[in-house]
C-alpha cells in the first residue's frame, strides 16, 4: 500500500504546531495503524529527520494509551476499536490520511501526537475510588452483588480512559469518562458509602479541568472503543441531582 499522510507536528506545548505531509510506500495491509506509524518513523530516521511522537503501550486495545484523531475520527472510523487495533486493511491503496492529536483545552499537546491526559487522573483522584484498607483480599461471597448490577458495573469499568469521548465530543466534554468511572463504583455495594461525595467531587474536578459541557449528542459513545453507553451519563446526571439536593438540605 502507498499512503499519503498528513501528520500533526508540534515541538512542545508552547509551539503553534503545523501539519507535515509524508508519502509512505510498501505498507502491509496486515500492519496495524501504529505499526504503519513505526514504519513512517523508520523512514524519517533514515532520512535523518526526527520521528513523530505518539502514545502507545499495550497495543492490544486494553490499556487506553494510544489515541490519535484519524481522518476526523477518534481512533479511526472503525467502531469499538482502539488505534492500535485498527488495521491498514481498512484503508485503500493511495489513501490520504490526516492524523492529528486528540484536541481539547484539558488535553494539552506534549509533543506531536502526544497529549497530556492528566486531567482524567485528577477526576479519578477526586472520587474514582473507595476508601478501604487494601492488602487482604475479602472473601468472594462476603458481599453479595446482584448479577445485573455486577454486569452494569463491569460495562462501565471497561472504560480504559483513552479520551476518545473528549476528542470526539464537539464540546470536548468528559461526561462519558466521568460517568463511567463514577457509575462503576456507584452501582456496587462497596461504592455506596462515598456515592454522593464521589459524584460532586468528580464533576467539580471535571469542570475545573476545562472540559466542555455535555449536549447529549452521543458522539462520545459512538467513538468509544469500549462502547460505554450514554446510560451512564443519565445515571451521573441523576446521582448528581440527588447528591446536590441532599447536600442543600443537610
Amino acid at each position: 500500500m502507498k499512503l499519503f499522510l498528513k501528520v500533526w507536528k508540534q515541538e512542545g506545548p508552547e509551539d503553534e504546531g503545523h501539519f507535515e505531509s509524508h508519502v509512505l510506500d510498501g505498507v502491509s495491509e496486515d500492519s496495524s495503524f501504529l505499526e504503519m506509524l513505526d514504519q513512517l518513523n523508520e523512514q524519517l530516521l533514515g532520512e535523518g529527520k526526527e520521528p513523530i511522537a505518539f502514545d502507545h503501550d499495550c497495543r492490544e486495545g486494553i490499556c487506553g494509551t494510544c489515541s490519535l484523531n484519524i481522518n476526523g475520527y477518534a481512533h479511526g472510523l472503525e467502531n469499538s476499536t482502539t488505534t492500535c487495533q485498527l488495521h491498514m486493511r481498512k484503508f485503500e491503496d493511495g489513501d490520504s490520511i490526516t492524523v492529528e492529536p486528540f484536541r481539547a483545552k484539558a488535553f494539552p499537546v506534549v509533543k506531536d501526537l502526544v497529549v497530556n491526559r492528566s486531567a482524567f487522573d485528577k477526576i479519578i483522584q477526586a472520587g474514582g475510588f473507595i476508601t478501604v484498607r487494601t492488602g487482604s483480599a475479602p472473601d468472594g461471597n462476603a458481599m453479595p452483588v446482584p448479577k445485573e448490577n455486577a454486569d452494569l458495573a463491569m460495562d462501565a469499568a471497561q472504560c480504559i480512559g483513552c479520551g476518545a469521548c473528549v476528542a470526539s465530543c464537539k464540546n470536548a466534554s468528559a461526561m462519558l469518562f466521568t460517568s463511567a468511572k463514577a457509575g462503576h463504583l456507584n452501582m456496587l455495594p462497596q461504592g455506596q458509602a462515598e456515592k454522593d461525595s464521589r459524584v460532586l467531587n468528580m464533576v467539580a474536578a471535571m469542570d475545573e479541568a476545562g472540559f466542555g459541557n455535555c449536549r447529549n449528542y452521543g458522539e462520545c459513545s459512538a467513538a468509544c472503543p469500549k462502547d460505554i453507553s450514554l446510560d451512564y451519563i443519565a445515571k451521573l446526571n441523576r446521582d448528581y441531582a440527588k447528591a446536590k439536593i441532599k447536600k442543600v438540605f443537610s
Partner: protein, 242 residues
C-alpha cells in the same frame, strides 16, 4: 457565575420543560381560531382579564424562564468553545443530527422571533391599528372587546409575515426535536432502551407543534388566494391598510 456544569444543564432542562408546556398550551389556544371568531375572542378576553397577579405572575415566570434558558445557553456555548481552542482539521459527525448540532442557532432565532411576535400581536407596536379592532362577538357581557380573530386574519394577510412565522415554527420544531428528548437525558430519566422512543416522541412533538401553529397562517394565505374558504371574513375591522 461559576456554577457546576450539571447545574447549568439542569437549568436548561427545567426551563425547557416550562417552555415546552407553554408552546403546547399556546398552540391549543390558537387552534380556537378554527372554531370561529367567538371562541378565540372569548378565550383571549378571558386570558387578558385574569386577575392581575395570575396574569402578570405567569408572564413574569415565562419571561424569567426564557431569559434563564437563553443566558445559560450562552454561558454553556461560551465554555464549550473554550474547551477546544483549536478545531479539528477534519470535523466529522457520527451520530448527532442537524437539529442537535444547531440548538444555538435555532434558539437564537427563536429569541428574535419571540421579540417580533410580542411586538406584532401582544404589544401591537408594529401595526398599532390592530388596537382599533373591536367587536362584541365573544364578549361575555355584550360590551366591545378586542377582535383577536380579525387581528390574526389581518396579521397573516401579509405573505412575508406568514412565511416568516411558518419558517420560525419549523425552527422551533427542530429545536424541540433535540430539546424534548435531551431534557430527559439531562435530568437522568433516559436509558438506551428508551432513547429511540424518546427521540421519536420528541420529533413527533416538534411536528405537532409545527403543524398546529402553521395551519393558521397557511389557511389565511390560502384563503387570500382563493384556495380555501373555511375562515370567516375579516369583517369591517379588517379593512385596515396593510
Amino acid at each position: 457565575m461559576n456554577q457546576s456544569s450539571l447545574l447549568k444543564k439542569y437549568l436548561m432542562a427545567l426551563t425547557g420543560i416550562v417552555l415546552v408546556g407553554f408552546v403546547l398550551v399556546h398552540m391549543a389556544g390558537n387552534l380556537q381560531v378554527l372554531i370561529g371568531r367567538e371562541a378565540i375572542n372569548a378565550y383571549a378576553y378571558a386570558l387578558q382579564n385574569l386577575p392581575a397577579p395570575i396574569l402578570w405572575g405567569s408572564r413574569l415566570f415565562l419571561l424569567v424562564c426564557v431569559l434563564v434558558h437563553a443566558v445559560t445557553a450562552y454561558q454553556l456555548i461560551k465554555e464549550n468553545r473554550m474547551a477546544r481552542p483549536r478545531a479539528n482539521e477534519i470535523e466529522v459527525t457520527k451520530r448527532a443530527g442537524w437539529a442537535s448540532l444547531r440548538m444555538g442557532l435555532t434558539g437564537s432565532l427563536m429569541l428574535a422571533f419571540i421579540v417580533f411576535h410580542l411586538l406584532h400581536f401582544t404589544i401591537r407596536a408594529i401595526f398599532p391599528e390592530y388596537n382599533d379592532m373591536k367587536t362584541t362577538v365573544g364578549s361575555p357581557d355584550g360590551s366591545e372587546i378586542h377582535d383577536v380573530y380579525s387581528m390574526i386574519l389581518a396579521g397573516f394577510q401579509v405573505d412575508a409575515i406568514s412565511i416568516f412565522y411558518v419558517i420560525c415554527m419549523f425552527l422551533l420544531c427542530r429545536h424541540l426535536a433535540h430539546g424534548v428528548s435531551s431534557m430527559f437525558q439531562t435530568l437522568g430519566f433516559r436509558s438506551e432502551r428508551w432513547r429511540g422512543k424518546l427521540d421519536l416522541a420528541a420529533s413527533a412533538y416538534g411536528w405537532i407543534i409545527f403543524a398546529g401553529f402553521s395551519i393558521i397562517p397557511v389557511l389565511v394565505i390560502a384563503q387570500k388566494y382563493g384556495l380555501v374558504n373555511c375562515l370567516e371574513t375579516c369583517g369591517s375591522s379588517c379593512s385596515v391598510n396593510l
